[in-house]
């Protein structure tokens, strides 16, 4: 059997909940410089299904959290992203992307306008990019206070998440989708947002690192809640058709071809004023040359990232950026980029897997319908 991959020897950072993960039987694996729980004893399939049926709790403390503060911060951050941040009401949040000069995705992130008189934006970025993101924001927006937060971040996702969290933090169950509220509890505050990256209703809860273990233990006391690791998180986001930075998004990808045009506000499309506007404007007007699509391999074998896609006539059509097995659908699923002429559901493409030709049908995303909370 192939040996398990080793990390490159660099010291791994440990999560505030490291000891709890191990006591729960987690198999730990290196990811983005952190020793992360990949899965617990019940396994990725079981954790994925449990999250879809009840609620899964994920430690996402490796992600970057920071506050950008100062009058005009939202307008200034718009110079780096195509999202409408000026239009964010206090307590509301939005998904957007930091862009490079060519309109490629430097990272994707969540931006929350915090309530209060002072203009403050809470941002949450990917673990693998946070140091670069923070450096970029500091360099480009030096006139603002930029405060990285050393807090734990826990995601509670699934149809039972609202009831479970509401029992611990009354009122949390009524938060609208994509909104944020602080709950003051004993000596510290819990930042609760109704958001996540699994396609389910759910929450991300930020708290002081030394409060995290008690909080997660309280969640786990509820029989509807099971711990879920990075493996389940990846399966859930792939089923939900959500792109993952470093796989489905990178600096060569623009948000339009990535299927993220919905996150570019109307005002921003007209006014521009973000990096790579020319390319993104052209892609919005004329359609991008390639598009992110779903792919259904017509085989029981998963087709993995990196597989080259060809058309029926043998032309190179694109490549797979995420591929695996869907626990919910009990079949292989994948995502990738294909030239626009192939980006229609039902188009049949092919790839080679261990010397065999495998057909894949272009499919609509998501594979599993989103169930975000609509009040």
């Amino acid at each position: 059997m192939t040996a398990q991959p080793n990390h490159d020897g660099a010291p791994l950072a440990h999560l505030p909940l490291d000891a709890l993960h191990r006591s729960l039987g987690a198999r730990m694996a290196p990811f983005a410089g952190y020793d992360m729980p990949l899965q617990y004893a019940s396994g990725i399939v079981s954790e994925t299904l449990h999250t879809r049926q009840k609620a899964g709790v994920f430690d996402v403390s490796h992600m970057g959290q920071a506050i950008l503060a100062g009058a005009g911060a939202a307008r200034a951050l718009e110079s780096l992203t195509p999202g409408d941040l000026v239009g964010l009401a206090p307590g509301r949040m939005r998904y957007t992307q930091l862009l490079n000069e060519k309109g490629g995705v430097f990272d994707d992130l969540m931006v929350t306008r915090l309530p209060g008189v002072e203009e403050r934006l809470l941002i949450v970025v990917n673990a693998s990019r946070k140091l670069d993101d923070f450096a970029l924001i500091r360099e480009r927006l030096p006139q603002f206070d930029f405060i990285p937060l050393n807090r734990a971040l826990i995601a509670l996702q699934g149809p039972r998440a609202a009831a479970v969290l509401g029992a611990l933090l009354p009122g949390a169950e009524d938060l609208p989708f994509m909104s944020w509220r602080a709950f003051e509890e004993s000596v510290s505050s819990f930042f609760v947002s109704r958001s996540g990256y699994t396609g389910e209703d759910g929450f991300e809860i930020s708290m002081r690192a030394d409060r995290a273990e008690l909080f997660v233990k309280a969640l786990l006391e509820n029989e509807d809640v099971a711990p879920a690791g990075l493996g389940a998180r990846d399966a859930l986001r792939l089923e939900a058709g959500l792109p993952l930075y470093g796989h489905d998004l990178d600096e060569t990808t623009d948000p339009v071809e990535a299927g993220l045009a919905w996150s570019i506000g109307k005002r921003r499309r007209v006014e521009g004023g973000f990096p790579g506007f020319e390319r993104i404007d052209a892609a919005l007007r004329n359609g991008p040359p390639r598009l992110r699509v779903g792919l259904l391999p017509q085989t029981k074998a998963p087709v993995r990232e990196g597989a080259i896609l060809v058309s029926q006539s043998g032309e190179v059509a694109g490549h797979v950026t995420s591929g695996g097995f869907s626990p919910t659908l009990q079949r292989p699923i994948a995502m990738g980029y294909v030239a626009r002429e192939y980006a229609t559901p039902g188009v049949s493409l092919a790839t080679e897997l261990r010397g065999n030709r495998i057909s894949l049908d272009v499919a609509r995303l998501p594979f599993v319908a989103h169930r975000y909370f609509k009040a």
Partner: protein, 124 residues
């Protein structure tokens, strides 16, 4: 009497006469997690010790299984086509992968016995 042997790559081999039943160890299936697909060789394929014999796919990744001995594939576990999770549930019996007619019995002697393999796993 059948004889159980293990490789450092976590394959096992159970020898009956000159036919070896090959699979992955319990340690290996735990490490891989939920197995969702097994790619088996064709019957009649000649393999040499250490060459790729099969591929076991978990939710996350594909892992190669290497031939623990040289020989010819004489049977594959067709049941895994519908039930790949047998490898998780019962790796040493119902979850076997392949039967190989052993070419050189001396190769079997180079593999670890159960006690040696148990000791080896403890060092990992």
């Amino acid at each position: 009497m059948s004889m159980l042997r293990f490789t450092k790559d976590h394959e096992y081999l159970r020898l009956d006469g000159d036919v070896a039943t090959v699979g992955i160890s319990d340690y290996a299936q735990v490490q891989l997690g939920d197995i969702v697909f097994v790619d088996l060789p064709k019957i009649g394929k000649k393999v040499t010790k250490g060459s790729e014999l099969a591929v076991v796919e978990s939710v996350k990744a594909a892992s190669e299984v290497y031939a623990p001995v040289s020989g010819e594939v004489v049977e594959v576990n067709a049941e895994l086509g519908e039930k790949p999770a047998l490898v998780n549930d019962d790796p040493l019996a119902g979850g076997w992968l392949v039967k190989i007619r052993v070419e050189n019995a001396g190769e079997v002697e180079t593999l670890m016995d159960e006690a040696a393999y148990a000791g080896f796993v403890k060092t990992l």
